[in-house]
């Protein structure tokens, strides 16, 4: 994407800025607090998303944590579903669908995700809010940073970091609570008895939160976010972007409110630079579309307020598309959007169908490798197997096992029915006995069938081999 389509002077100035920003040390961005429609939307998004993050892990369903990626137990509990490592394809599928949704969303609405829903934005908003509560507004923060170290500055700075660290630690604890049951984790925390790896990952995630939201901030978007770099592949001229209306704003300049600026040859931009001051990534939106722009609309809110004060119409900076700014008709449905949409619907349907058809039962048949076969005193041939039964259903079931494939095959197991609790794996040894005269080949196929006694539709078949002497030849 071209970083700017500004004409002449502006692009030279912009190139200078790029040079300077590449060579200079990062200058800290002090985003000015902003109020308005989009700021309110963002605060709402932040509250909802953080509410979900800090809250959902405490919700329970049917006596189990509603959302728990139980890594130690190798089971994922997702809204009443229990997923096992064998269900890995579903998870991959879901991630692909999530990525495609992001593509579709980006093609239509640009970087709304970045400005309102990205964890980096969400946590940075909280950290900025905490910072403002402790250090004061933008002016006060800048003044404080410039001032020499005094007891007061030390107190303010250390309070800020203490609050940030406390919040980060809680965040890290919550994060780990999605991987080990959080109620147990909480009681162990209170007893100061966390496991070494739980402690480590709490601190690790807490540190990542503190570092990314407190220190790195917009640098994460600029240097680490892959989305910022490849978004241009998903954008087109109809994608919703935030744009400064150059035709209306230029030439910019300060003026008295009473001045008839049109007759004085000025555009609507009063060059107050508030749009730059509120920008969390520290860019000037008036220089054109830039990859650093996370479309948070802080500049839209800020500029609208200025326009209101000047009695100019709002929307000098607004959500629009390149076509709309250029006067071309805006289109929502276009090949790109239709293609993304069709693929997405297809994948979602495929996932839905395969989840609906999923049999939450696995039977693995492992033949004893120590002996090919043995002969019983009665002259029968016997093979030994281990059956691994994975009951992926949430309910406990009694199962019956049967076998077919060889005439007169007899199944011996030490228990019947076979009880397997919901979500459990059971290995049982079984023996098959066959009259050697019914064997056609030294190696025959047998089919084991496992069926829940209380639910005939919960059944699964697995093939195995039966080895014996070849008497018939």
């Amino acid at each position: 994407m071209s970083s700017t389509d500004a004409s002449g002077g502006a692009s030279v100035r912009f190139a200078d800025d790029v040079e300077r920003s590449l060579y200079a040390k990062r200058e800290k961005v002090y985003p000015r607090e902003v109020h308005g429609v989009f700021a309110a939307l963002r605060v709402t998004a932040v509250l909802v998303l953080l509410g979900l993050f800090y809250g959902v892990c405490w919700l329970r369903w049917d006596g189990k944590q509603l959302l728990l990626f139980d890594l130690p137990g190798r089971k994922f509990h997702v809204f009443g579903w229990t997923l096992f490592p064998q269900d890995f394809p579903y998870l991959t599928f879901m991630l692909i669908i999530a990525a495609l949704s992001l593509f579709l969303f980006t093609a239509v609405a640009g970087r709304l995700f970045c400005g309102y829903a990205c964890p980096q934005t969400v946590w940075t908003e909280v950290f900025l809010w905490l910072e403002r509560k402790v250090e004061g507004d933008r002016q006060k923060q800048m003044k404080l940073d410039k001032s020499p170290w005094t007891g007061r500055k030390l107190l303010i700075k250390s309070s800020k970091h203490a609050i940030w660290i406390a919040f980060s630690l809680w965040t890290g604890f919550t994060f780990v609570g999605y991987f080990t049951p959080i109620t147990e984790l909480g009681s162990r925390l209170l007893a100061l008895n966390l496991g070494p790896w739980e402690t480590f990952w709490s601190l690790f995630y807490g540190f990542a939160t503190y570092g990314n939201a407190g220190w790195m901030r917009e640098q994460v978007c600029i240097y680490m976010c892959p989305y910022a770099r490849f978004q241009s592949a998903m954008f087109d001229r109809d994608t919703l972007i935030i744009s400064y209306d150059k035709g209306r704003g230029e030439p910019r300049g300060s003026r008295k409110k009473s001045l008839d600026h049109r007759s004085a040859g000025l555009g609507d931009c009063i060059d107050c630079t508030i749009c730059v001051q509120v920008c969390p990534t520290g860019i000037d939106i008036r220089e054109g579309l830039q990859y650093q722009c996370i479309a948070c609309a802080a500049c839209v809110d800020a500029c609208d307020q200025v326009m209101e004060r000047m009695n100019y119409p709002k929307g000098l900076i607004r959500y629009t598309s390149e076509n709309a700014v250029g006067g071309a008709p805006a289109r929502i449905s276009r090949p790109r959007v239709v293609i993304y949409g069709v693929i997405l619907l297809g994948l979602a349907a495929a996932l839905g169908v395969s989840l609906a058809l999923r049999t939450p039962l696995i039977l693995d048949v492992i033949r004893d490798r120590n002996a090919l076969y043995r002969e019983t005193p009665e002259g029968l041939v016997e093979n030994v197997y281990t059956l691994k039964i994975v009951n992926m259903d949430d309910a406990d079931h009694d199962f019956s096992i049967s076998v077919r494939g060889i005439e007169g095959v007899e199944l011996l197991l030490d228990r019947a029915p076979v009880e397997v609790a919901g979500g459990e794996v059971l290995s049982i040894p079984v023996r098959l006995r066959v009259d050697p005269y019914s064997l056609e080949n030294p190696s025959s196929r047998v089919v084991f069938e496992l069926a829940a006694m209380d639910n005939p539709s919960l059944r699964v078949e697995t093939k195995g081999r039966f080895l014996g002497p070849s008497v018939k030849q």
Partner: protein
Amino acid sequence: MTTYKSIPRVQLVSAILWPSFLLAGIATSVFFTFLDPVRLFDYEGEAPLSRMAAYSLGFFLFWLLCAASSAASAYFLRPTDGGVYSANDSA
């Protein structure tokens, strides 16, 4: 034009550590989906590592390997025309 010399240190470090972090995450998930560490090490009853420990160590091992690869790429991307390649710590 951007020259190699002008890459900020934070960008260089991020470019090595961050993609390798993501890839290590993917590699760890795929690896341990198919291999249960407890079964892998379970010779005689007691496993020497808990699953959490095995996952964590596995993750850091993958991260180290991926980061080594990224670092080697970054190293070989230095211009060969005698240009100086260093992250600028100061302006």
